[in-house]
Protein backbone atom coordinates (compact mmCIF):
# COMPACT_ATOMS: atom_id res chain seq x y z
CA UNK A 1 0.00 0.00 0.00
CA UNK A 2 1.07 3.53 -0.65
CA UNK A 3 2.04 5.53 2.43
CA UNK A 4 0.67 9.03 2.24
CA UNK A 5 -0.16 11.88 4.57
CA UNK A 6 -3.79 10.88 4.52
CA UNK A 7 -2.97 7.26 5.07
CA UNK A 8 -0.96 8.26 8.12
CA UNK A 9 -4.02 9.97 9.47
CA UNK A 10 -5.99 6.81 9.02
CA UNK A 11 -3.13 4.74 10.37
CA UNK A 12 -3.25 6.70 13.58
CA UNK A 13 -6.92 5.92 13.89
CA UNK A 14 -7.91 9.53 13.75
CA UNK A 15 -5.55 10.61 16.49
CA UNK A 16 -3.30 12.60 14.18
CA UNK A 17 -6.30 14.23 12.59
CA UNK A 18 -7.78 14.93 15.99
CA UNK A 19 -4.56 16.56 17.16
CA UNK A 20 -5.23 19.40 14.75
CA UNK A 21 -8.70 19.97 16.13
CA UNK A 22 -9.76 22.28 18.95
CA UNK A 23 -10.12 20.43 22.22
CA UNK A 24 -13.28 22.10 23.48
CA UNK A 25 -15.51 25.14 23.06
CA UNK A 26 -13.22 28.08 23.71
CA UNK A 27 -15.86 30.59 24.70
CA UNK A 28 -19.28 30.74 26.33
CA UNK A 29 -22.24 30.03 24.11
CA UNK A 30 -23.84 32.99 22.41
CA UNK A 31 -27.00 34.47 23.85
CA UNK A 32 -28.84 33.18 20.81
CA UNK A 33 -28.05 29.58 21.74
CA UNK A 34 -28.80 29.89 25.45
CA UNK A 35 -32.48 28.99 25.21
CA UNK A 36 -31.66 25.85 23.26
CA UNK A 37 -28.95 24.92 25.75
CA UNK A 38 -31.38 25.30 28.65
CA UNK A 39 -33.95 23.16 26.88
CA UNK A 40 -31.47 20.41 26.01
CA UNK A 41 -30.00 20.51 29.51
CA UNK A 42 -33.44 20.07 31.08
CA UNK A 43 -34.14 17.14 28.79
CA UNK A 44 -30.84 15.48 29.69
CA UNK A 45 -31.53 15.93 33.40
CA UNK A 46 -34.92 14.29 32.96
CA UNK A 47 -33.26 11.47 31.08
CA UNK A 48 -30.67 10.91 33.80
CA UNK A 49 -33.41 10.90 36.42
CA UNK A 50 -35.21 8.31 34.32
CA UNK A 51 -32.07 6.18 34.21
CA UNK A 52 -31.69 6.43 37.98
CA UNK A 53 -35.25 5.26 38.44
CA UNK A 54 -34.84 2.43 35.94
CA UNK A 55 -31.54 1.30 37.45
CA UNK A 56 -33.18 1.00 40.86
CA UNK A 57 -35.67 -1.51 39.41
CA UNK A 58 -33.14 -3.74 37.63
CA UNK A 59 -30.96 -6.65 38.62
CA UNK A 60 -27.22 -6.09 38.89
CA UNK A 61 -26.40 -7.05 35.31
CA UNK A 62 -29.05 -4.87 33.72
CA UNK A 63 -28.31 -2.06 36.18
CA UNK A 64 -24.64 -2.17 35.23
CA UNK A 65 -25.44 -1.78 31.55
CA UNK A 66 -27.88 1.04 32.23
CA UNK A 67 -25.28 2.64 34.49
CA UNK A 68 -22.85 2.88 31.61
CA UNK A 69 -25.51 4.57 29.52
CA UNK A 70 -26.49 6.82 32.42
CA UNK A 71 -22.87 7.96 32.72
CA UNK A 72 -22.85 9.10 29.11
CA UNK A 73 -25.88 11.29 29.72
CA UNK A 74 -24.32 12.65 32.89
CA UNK A 75 -21.36 13.61 30.72
CA UNK A 76 -23.75 15.38 28.36
CA UNK A 77 -25.05 17.42 31.30
CA UNK A 78 -21.50 18.38 32.23
CA UNK A 79 -20.70 19.51 28.70
CA UNK A 80 -23.92 21.48 28.38
CA UNK A 81 -23.31 23.19 31.71
CA UNK A 82 -19.79 23.97 30.61
CA UNK A 83 -21.09 25.53 27.41
CA UNK A 84 -23.45 27.66 29.47
CA UNK A 85 -20.96 28.32 32.25
CA UNK A 86 -23.60 27.04 34.64
CA UNK A 87 -22.71 25.37 37.95
CA UNK A 88 -23.37 21.68 38.36
CA UNK A 89 -26.82 20.70 39.55
CA UNK A 90 -28.24 17.27 40.22
CA UNK A 91 -30.98 15.68 38.20
CA UNK A 92 -34.52 15.74 39.43
CA UNK A 93 -36.08 12.54 40.63
CA UNK A 94 -37.90 10.68 37.88
CA UNK A 95 -39.58 7.48 36.93
CA UNK A 96 -38.84 5.39 33.87
CA UNK A 97 -38.48 1.86 32.62
CA UNK A 98 -35.96 0.52 30.16
CA UNK A 99 -38.39 0.67 27.25
CA UNK A 100 -39.48 4.17 28.22
CA UNK A 101 -35.87 5.30 28.17
CA UNK A 102 -35.50 4.01 24.63
CA UNK A 103 -38.56 5.97 23.60
CA UNK A 104 -37.29 9.12 25.29
CA UNK A 105 -33.94 8.77 23.52
CA UNK A 106 -35.55 8.16 20.15
CA UNK A 107 -37.93 11.08 20.46
CA UNK A 108 -35.16 13.45 21.56
CA UNK A 109 -33.14 13.04 18.36
CA UNK A 110 -35.13 15.31 15.99
CA UNK A 111 -35.24 18.07 18.60
CA UNK A 112 -31.50 17.86 19.21
CA UNK A 113 -30.74 17.80 15.51
CA UNK A 114 -32.95 20.82 14.89
CA UNK A 115 -31.12 22.63 17.67
CA UNK A 116 -27.80 21.65 16.09
CA UNK A 117 -28.89 22.92 12.70
CA UNK A 118 -30.02 26.23 14.16
CA UNK A 119 -27.23 26.93 16.67
CA UNK A 120 -25.29 30.10 16.01
CA UNK A 121 -22.14 28.93 17.76
CA UNK A 122 -20.45 26.12 15.86
CA UNK A 123 -19.14 24.52 19.04
CA UNK A 124 -22.63 24.41 20.50
CA UNK A 125 -23.96 23.01 17.23
CA UNK A 126 -21.36 20.24 17.30
CA UNK A 127 -22.22 19.46 20.92
CA UNK A 128 -25.94 19.19 20.12
CA UNK A 129 -25.21 17.08 17.03
CA UNK A 130 -22.96 14.76 19.01
CA UNK A 131 -25.54 14.28 21.76
CA UNK A 132 -28.15 13.61 19.09
CA UNK A 133 -25.83 11.03 17.55
CA UNK A 134 -25.27 9.33 20.89
CA UNK A 135 -29.01 9.28 21.56
CA UNK A 136 -29.58 7.76 18.11
CA UNK A 137 -27.10 4.99 18.81
CA UNK A 138 -28.50 4.35 22.29
CA UNK A 139 -32.09 4.30 21.03
CA UNK A 140 -31.14 1.82 18.34
CA UNK A 141 -29.40 -0.39 20.90
CA UNK A 142 -32.41 -0.20 23.21
CA UNK A 143 -34.71 -1.20 20.37
CA UNK A 144 -32.49 -4.15 19.48
CA UNK A 145 -32.35 -5.26 23.10
CA UNK A 146 -36.13 -5.06 23.35
CA UNK A 147 -36.55 -7.04 20.16
CA UNK A 148 -34.18 -9.72 21.42
CA UNK A 149 -36.13 -10.00 24.67
CA UNK A 150 -39.39 -10.39 22.77
CA UNK A 151 -37.89 -13.15 20.63
CA UNK A 152 -36.82 -15.06 23.73
CA UNK A 153 -40.35 -15.04 25.20
Amino acid sequence: MQLTRRSLLLAAGGLALAACRPKRPARPASVADRAALVSVLDAERTLVAGYDAAIAQQDAVAAGRLGLERDRHAAHIGALQNAMREPTASANAGTATGSALGTMLHESVPTLQAAANAAVDGAVAALFASIAAEHSAAARAAAQTGAAKRRRR
Binding site: L68, D71, A75, Q113, A118, A125, A129, S130, A133, A137
Partner: protein, 170 residues
Protein backbone atom coordinates in the same frame (compact mmCIF):
# COMPACT_ATOMS: atom_id res chain seq x y z
CA UNK B 1 -11.20 25.63 10.44
CA UNK B 2 -13.30 26.98 7.57
CA UNK B 3 -16.38 25.19 6.34
CA UNK B 4 -14.62 24.42 3.07
CA UNK B 5 -11.64 22.91 4.83
CA UNK B 6 -13.91 20.81 7.04
CA UNK B 7 -15.81 19.52 4.03
CA UNK B 8 -12.56 18.72 2.28
CA UNK B 9 -11.33 16.82 5.33
CA UNK B 10 -14.64 14.98 5.55
CA UNK B 11 -14.33 13.97 1.92
CA UNK B 12 -10.81 12.69 2.52
CA UNK B 13 -12.13 10.73 5.49
CA UNK B 14 -14.95 9.27 3.40
CA UNK B 15 -12.51 8.14 0.73
CA UNK B 16 -10.46 6.39 3.39
CA UNK B 17 -13.58 4.83 4.91
CA UNK B 18 -14.73 3.52 1.54
CA UNK B 19 -11.30 2.02 0.95
CA UNK B 20 -11.27 0.54 4.45
CA UNK B 21 -14.63 -1.12 4.02
CA UNK B 22 -13.33 -2.74 0.88
CA UNK B 23 -10.58 -4.31 2.95
CA UNK B 24 -12.80 -5.21 5.91
CA UNK B 25 -15.39 -6.79 3.65
CA UNK B 26 -12.81 -9.28 2.45
CA UNK B 27 -12.50 -10.68 5.98
CA UNK B 28 -16.16 -10.77 6.95
CA UNK B 29 -18.90 -13.30 6.32
CA UNK B 30 -22.63 -13.61 6.75
CA UNK B 31 -24.48 -10.79 8.50
CA UNK B 32 -21.29 -8.86 9.22
CA UNK B 33 -20.38 -8.89 5.53
CA UNK B 34 -23.88 -7.76 4.59
CA UNK B 35 -23.65 -4.90 7.08
CA UNK B 36 -20.21 -3.91 5.77
CA UNK B 37 -21.59 -3.84 2.23
CA UNK B 38 -24.51 -1.74 3.41
CA UNK B 39 -22.13 0.67 5.14
CA UNK B 40 -19.92 0.87 2.06
CA UNK B 41 -22.90 1.92 -0.04
CA UNK B 42 -24.00 4.41 2.61
CA UNK B 43 -20.56 6.03 2.75
CA UNK B 44 -20.52 6.30 -1.02
CA UNK B 45 -23.73 8.28 -0.69
CA UNK B 46 -22.21 10.51 2.01
CA UNK B 47 -19.22 11.09 -0.26
CA UNK B 48 -21.54 12.19 -3.06
CA UNK B 49 -23.44 14.52 -0.76
CA UNK B 50 -20.22 16.08 0.50
CA UNK B 51 -19.08 16.59 -3.09
CA UNK B 52 -22.39 18.32 -3.76
CA UNK B 53 -21.97 20.83 -0.93
CA UNK B 54 -18.28 21.53 -1.61
CA UNK B 55 -18.29 25.08 -2.90
CA UNK B 56 -15.08 24.96 -4.91
CA UNK B 57 -12.84 22.53 -6.71
CA UNK B 58 -10.24 23.05 -4.00
CA UNK B 59 -12.67 21.52 -1.53
CA UNK B 60 -13.07 18.41 -3.67
CA UNK B 61 -9.94 16.29 -3.21
CA UNK B 62 -9.37 13.22 -5.33
CA UNK B 63 -9.27 9.82 -3.68
CA UNK B 64 -5.93 8.09 -3.33
CA UNK B 65 -5.36 4.67 -4.87
CA UNK B 66 -4.68 3.10 -1.47
CA UNK B 67 -4.59 3.92 2.23
CA UNK B 68 -2.42 2.50 4.98
CA UNK B 69 -4.41 0.56 7.54
CA UNK B 70 -3.97 1.13 11.28
CA UNK B 71 -3.28 -2.57 11.92
CA UNK B 72 -3.25 -5.83 9.98
CA UNK B 73 -6.75 -6.96 9.04
CA UNK B 74 -6.40 -10.70 8.87
CA UNK B 75 -9.55 -12.03 10.52
CA UNK B 76 -13.17 -11.04 11.20
CA UNK B 77 -12.36 -9.59 14.62
CA UNK B 78 -9.77 -7.25 13.14
CA UNK B 79 -12.18 -6.31 10.37
CA UNK B 80 -14.82 -5.35 12.93
CA UNK B 81 -12.25 -3.29 14.86
CA UNK B 82 -11.31 -1.56 11.63
CA UNK B 83 -14.95 -0.80 10.93
CA UNK B 84 -15.24 0.89 14.33
CA UNK B 85 -12.15 2.98 13.52
CA UNK B 86 -13.56 3.93 10.15
CA UNK B 87 -16.90 5.06 11.53
CA UNK B 88 -15.22 6.91 14.40
CA UNK B 89 -12.96 8.70 11.93
CA UNK B 90 -15.95 9.74 9.88
CA UNK B 91 -17.64 10.96 13.07
CA UNK B 92 -14.69 13.22 13.84
CA UNK B 93 -14.84 14.71 10.38
CA UNK B 94 -18.60 15.22 10.70
CA UNK B 95 -18.17 17.02 14.03
CA UNK B 96 -15.77 19.42 12.32
CA UNK B 97 -18.21 20.05 9.48
CA UNK B 98 -20.94 20.91 11.98
CA UNK B 99 -18.66 23.16 14.03
CA UNK B 100 -17.26 25.00 11.01
CA UNK B 101 -20.50 25.55 9.11
CA UNK B 102 -23.00 28.35 9.47
CA UNK B 103 -26.46 27.66 10.93
CA UNK B 104 -29.23 26.36 8.70
CA UNK B 105 -26.95 25.66 5.76
CA UNK B 106 -26.72 22.51 3.68
CA UNK B 107 -23.27 21.82 5.10
CA UNK B 108 -24.54 22.08 8.69
CA UNK B 109 -27.48 19.77 8.00
CA UNK B 110 -25.25 17.30 6.23
CA UNK B 111 -22.75 17.24 9.09
CA UNK B 112 -25.50 16.71 11.67
CA UNK B 113 -27.03 13.83 9.71
CA UNK B 114 -23.66 12.26 8.94
CA UNK B 115 -22.61 12.35 12.58
CA UNK B 116 -25.76 10.51 13.69
CA UNK B 117 -25.46 7.91 10.96
CA UNK B 118 -21.85 7.00 11.66
CA UNK B 119 -22.37 7.01 15.44
CA UNK B 120 -25.14 4.45 15.09
CA UNK B 121 -22.98 2.34 12.79
CA UNK B 122 -19.98 2.55 15.11
CA UNK B 123 -22.15 1.42 18.02
CA UNK B 124 -23.45 -1.44 15.91
CA UNK B 125 -19.93 -2.58 15.07
CA UNK B 126 -18.95 -2.34 18.73
CA UNK B 127 -21.89 -4.58 19.62
CA UNK B 128 -20.89 -7.06 16.93
CA UNK B 129 -17.35 -7.08 18.31
CA UNK B 130 -18.58 -7.34 21.91
CA UNK B 131 -16.85 -4.07 22.78
CA UNK B 132 -18.57 -1.82 25.29
CA UNK B 133 -16.80 1.52 25.04
CA UNK B 134 -19.40 3.62 23.26
CA UNK B 135 -18.38 7.29 23.45
CA UNK B 136 -20.58 9.84 25.19
CA UNK B 137 -19.68 12.36 22.49
CA UNK B 138 -19.36 10.76 19.06
CA UNK B 139 -16.94 12.71 16.92
CA UNK B 140 -15.65 14.93 19.70
CA UNK B 141 -11.97 15.90 19.66
CA UNK B 142 -9.62 14.26 22.16
CA UNK B 143 -9.89 15.72 25.62
CA UNK B 144 -13.39 17.04 25.11
CA UNK B 145 -15.14 14.60 27.42
CA UNK B 146 -12.41 14.68 30.06
CA UNK B 147 -12.67 18.45 30.19
CA UNK B 148 -16.42 18.65 30.16
CA UNK B 149 -17.86 15.61 31.87
CA UNK B 150 -18.96 15.48 35.45
CA UNK B 151 -18.21 12.53 37.68
CA UNK B 152 -20.79 9.81 37.94
CA UNK B 153 -22.67 9.24 41.14
CA UNK B 154 -24.07 5.91 40.02
CA UNK B 155 -22.55 3.02 41.99
CA UNK B 156 -23.20 0.51 39.22
CA UNK B 157 -20.76 2.04 36.78
CA UNK B 158 -17.18 1.10 36.06
CA UNK B 159 -14.10 3.06 34.94
CA UNK B 160 -14.48 1.57 31.51
CA UNK B 161 -17.42 3.86 30.90
CA UNK B 162 -15.21 6.91 30.49
CA UNK B 163 -15.55 8.48 27.10
CA UNK B 164 -13.17 7.88 24.27
CA UNK B 165 -12.85 10.51 21.62
CA UNK B 166 -13.36 9.75 17.99
CA UNK B 167 -10.82 7.42 16.51
CA UNK B 168 -9.27 6.51 19.82
CA UNK B 169 -10.81 3.08 20.07
CA UNK B 170 -8.70 0.08 19.34
Amino acid sequence: MTSGAAIRAALEAEYAVIYGYGVAGGRLRGRDLAFAQERLATHQEWRDQLLAVASSAADRPAPLPAYELPFPVEDPAAARRLAVRLEDGAAGAAWDVVAASRPATAARRLGVALLADVAVAAADWRTRGHVDDDPAFPGAPPGFAQADSQPSTTPTTSPSSTTTASGSTS
